[in-house]
């Protein structure tokens, strides 16, 4: 059992949880994720480790409500227990000194971006971060990101915070202004697709972190497969980060809808049980 130590609400739909998991806190690196199952009836879902405190033996998760499990998770309180939590999973981000790094985070993707931004900064890079979301209340972790970035640009679709526009507008501006050596993009698949098309145009090596549907997270089921450079890869063990220029984002987007009907049904069932 893994106890929730602290819960903080970032917005109506995004919650930060600090969870007791000492082994994982010790062995995790930026880019790693965990898989959790809330209780006996729960499903296994992957979440990135946004931060860890080795001394306190805790890891920090940021979850956005999208379906049954994430909703239930966001409603948990300090003191509650998560039945199963396994990790760290995936390959760690290749953090190295390259010069200038452009980090693009969309929506809840900012959570997994945070440890990467921190890592690149600590490795001696100049780090420029673009935070993007639909509106002001969906921009998360801004202060934490600022701490590890030389410059932060906030973009919202509706202009309610920072500048109005898409992540790509902010990114292109930077690329035109100064030399960017590497780019990292994490967010909705569509956002990563267009960021990647942009950086490809300018020949900037780009990593994207994929949020495929997963079950075990150990390479056993193949639910998380993606096409990268024409080859089938498993996101949980070969990723979650891949060379963005090689990812088949269209296929990824189709696959993310693979259980849509079943999930919708489960969600409706769930909502019924809560209202009754």
């Amino acid at each position: 059992m893994n106890q929730i130590i602290k819960v903080e609400s970032f917005s109506e739909n995004v919650v930060q949880l600090v969870v007791h998991a000492p082994r994982i806190a010790r062995s995790r690196k930026p880019g790693h994720f965990i898989i959790l199952r809330i209780d006996e009836k729960g499903e296994r879902i992957p979440l990135t480790i946004a931060a860890a405190d080795e001394k306190a033996g805790t890891i920090t998760l940021v979850a956005q409500k999208v379906g049954v499990t994430s909703k239930r998770l966001c409603e948990m309180k300090a003191g509650d227990q998560i039945l199963d939590l396994v990790g760290p999973l995936g390959k760690a981000t290749h953090i190295h000194k390259v010069g200038t790094v452009l980090a693009c985070g969309g929506g809840v993707g900012v959570a997994p971006l945070l440890p990467i931004v921190e890592g690149f900064k600590k490795a001696g890079n100049r780090v420029i971060t673009i935070l993007a979301a639909r509106s002001k209340d969906l921009i998360i972790l801004e202060d934490e990101i600022r701490k590890w970035s030389d410059e932060v640009i906030v973009m919202t679709d509706d202009g309610s915070h920072g500048r109005k526009g898409l992540v790509t507008a902010g990114a292109e501006e930077i690329i035109k202004r100064e030399k960017v050596d590497e780019c990292v993009a994490i967010g909705p698949a569509i956002m990563m697709k267009f960021t990647s098309l942009l950086t490809l145009k300018y020949g900037i090596p780009t990593q994207a972190s994929l949020n495929a549907i997963m079950v075990d997270g150990t390479g056993m089921c193949g639910a998380c497969r993606v096409s990268v450079g024409g080859q089938t890869m498993f996101t949980c063990v070969d990723g979650p980060e891949f060379d963005a220029s090689k990812i088949d984002f269209d296929e990824l987007m189709l696959r993310l809808g693979g259980y849509k009907a079943e999930e919708k049904e489960a969600f409706e069932r769930f909502m019924q049980t809560v209202t009754v």
Partner: protein
């Protein structure tokens, strides 16, 4: 071994039993039929066992068929050399608990093996009846299951004696049959044994792969409780190499490791359209249903239910998947296999059960492409017909493509069950570990010791996809090998 078998055979009670019925009369008894739930009924339940088990009367009658041979060839067919006539004769004289005890001398999980061993290729293939009389063999598997079930249901499972603790910590990685039998042997020798499992349940394939209609979870759970009572510790949600490294575990005092991490990596065919929605590995499908209870509405995990479900492959995994699909409501549940029925590697009994349940067999056909609707959900598959050519290295006739024979069939779920590769997690964490071209860990065949002296391995990670009983045999050999190594240190 021969001497020991002979001595046991000369025990007074067995001599007396042999005298009671003439061999000629034994040979006239017909092989018992396993009572089973009717096909029409059983396809409505994901979790009701098909085989109901023998009652005491028919078990005793079946045991009378066994002639307690001077040269019991059946034993040669059993990978762990169970003393088959001894346990069967114990059933004949009504000492069912002793029969179970005999099984436990060599097998850690007889209730499991009695259900899932490919007996027709192992013990029963080597029975005197099969070899010499050309008759149906003694139903060794059914009797094994009977004795083990009797013991479990009597509630008087003998917890084996455990040697005084020697204070030496050892770890088993993975919790499938190889690890469980390893853990049982090591704990008896006095070691402190911890079994680490990546998933949230103990049992490996026995839990996440083989469905309940073939192997009920409670059968496995009782064995697990037994091991726990003996002092084996289980750590769930713990991936060795990630949650903690081998070095971390050494620092925590573990002196040797048994790697039994299985062959968990599913293979795909790499044909066009294979990543469409609705096409998944048998591992994913069976894990959703067996580990996550996805077929039960009260659980959150979803599973795809299809009208036309095709399962690619002809092994046990394929049979388990297709029969699961039937139980989840498929109108057409089909096996697509590139060779003929005779070449299917699945247990004969499972193929037979699948047939009774209305599974369609499309033999001598292979998919070459898939097509999808505009949402990316698979809607049809293109099959190519095959014919059997000359035998290949395995002695089976090689399937050859018939050019121009392509045709399409409608499908909405496709399950790929064409085999698995060794789980790369552990080898990728240990660059100095010697692995084969296929990714299996190389070990000494007797001691199961790898190129790293403190590391032993067995089961599917060493053999590729094999069987439960072979994995268990490896676990036992590794325990002996490790014991030797640690005592000599």
């Amino acid at each position: 071994m021969q001497e020991y078998l002979k001595q046991e055979r000369e025990q007074a009670w067995r001599v007396e039993l042999r005298g009671k019925i003439k061999n000629k009369d034994r040979g006239l008894i017909e092989r018992v039929k396993m009572p089973e739930m009717k096909a029409m009924k059983r396809v409505c339940f994901q979790n009701k066992e098909v085989n109901l088990g023998l009652d005491a009367k028919s078990a005793v009658r079946e045991s009378q068929r066994c002639m307690d041979c001077v040269n019991p060839t059946c034993i040669e067919g059993c990978p762990v050399s169970i003393n088959i006539p001894k346990f069967i004769k114990n059933i004949e004289r009504g000492e069912f608990a002793d029969a179970a005890k005999t099984l436990k001398e060599t097998s850690a999980l007889p209730a499991v093996c009695g259900r899932v061993c490919p007996q027709e290729k192992q013990c029963e293939a080597n029975c005197f009846y099969t070899l010499k009389l050309k008759k149906d063999p003694v139903a060794i598997g059914y009797l094994e299951r009977f004795a083990a079930d009797y013991e479990r249901e009597s509630g008087q499972i003998a917890v084996p004696e455990v040697a005084p603790k020697n204070g030496i910590k050892v770890a088993a990685i993975g919790s499938g049959p190889a690890s469980l039998s390893f853990a049982g042997d090591m704990i008896k020798l006095g070691y402190e044994v911890t079994v680490f499992e990546a998933l949230h349940e103990i049992g490996g394939v026995l839990k996440y792969g083989i469905p309940e209609f073939r192997l009920p979870n409670k059968v496995v759970d009782v064995e697990l409780q037994n091991l726990e009572q003996m002092g084996v510790r289980f750590e769930r949600n713990f991936i060795v190499g990630r949650t903690a490294s081998f070095d971390d575990l050494k620092d925590e005092g573990y002196q040797a490791f048994f790697v039994a991490s299985g062959a968990g990596l599913p293979r795909f065919m790499n044909i066009p359209g294979e990543n469409y929605n609705g096409i998944l590995s048998s591992n994913e499908y069976l894990t959703r249903v067996n580990l996550m209870n996805a077929s039960d509405d009260r659980f959150d995990t979803p599973v795809l239910r299809g009208k036309n479900v095709a399962v690619i492959g002809g092994g046990n995994t394929a049979m388990d998947s297709v029969r699961t699909a039937k139980r989840l409501g498929a109108e057409r549940a089909m096996i697509v296999y590139r060779r003929s029925r005779e070449e299917m590697p699945a247990r004969v009994e499972e193929v037979h059960h699948a047939e009774e349940e209305g599974i369609e067999f499309i033999n001598l056909a292979n998919p070459i492409a898939y097509d999808a609707d505009d949402k990316g959900r698979v809607k049809s598959m293109t099959l190519q017909r095959m014919e059997l050519g000359a035998p290949d290295a395995s002695g089976r006739r090689r399937p050859v493509v018939i050019e121009g024979s392509e045709y399409e069939i409608p499908v909405d779920v496709v399950i790929v069950a064409i085999g698995v590769s060794p789980n790369p997690l552990v080898p990728s964490e240990l660059p100095e570990l010697k692995v084969s071209r296929w990714g299996t860990i190389e070990v000494d065949a007797e001691s199961m010791q790898s190129s790293m002296p403190e590391l032993f391995a067995g089961g599917d990670i060493v053999r590729g996809g094999a069987t439960v009983i072979l994995a268990m045999g490896d676990g036992r050999r590794a325990a002996a090998g490790m014991h030797n190594y640690l005592q000599g240190k």
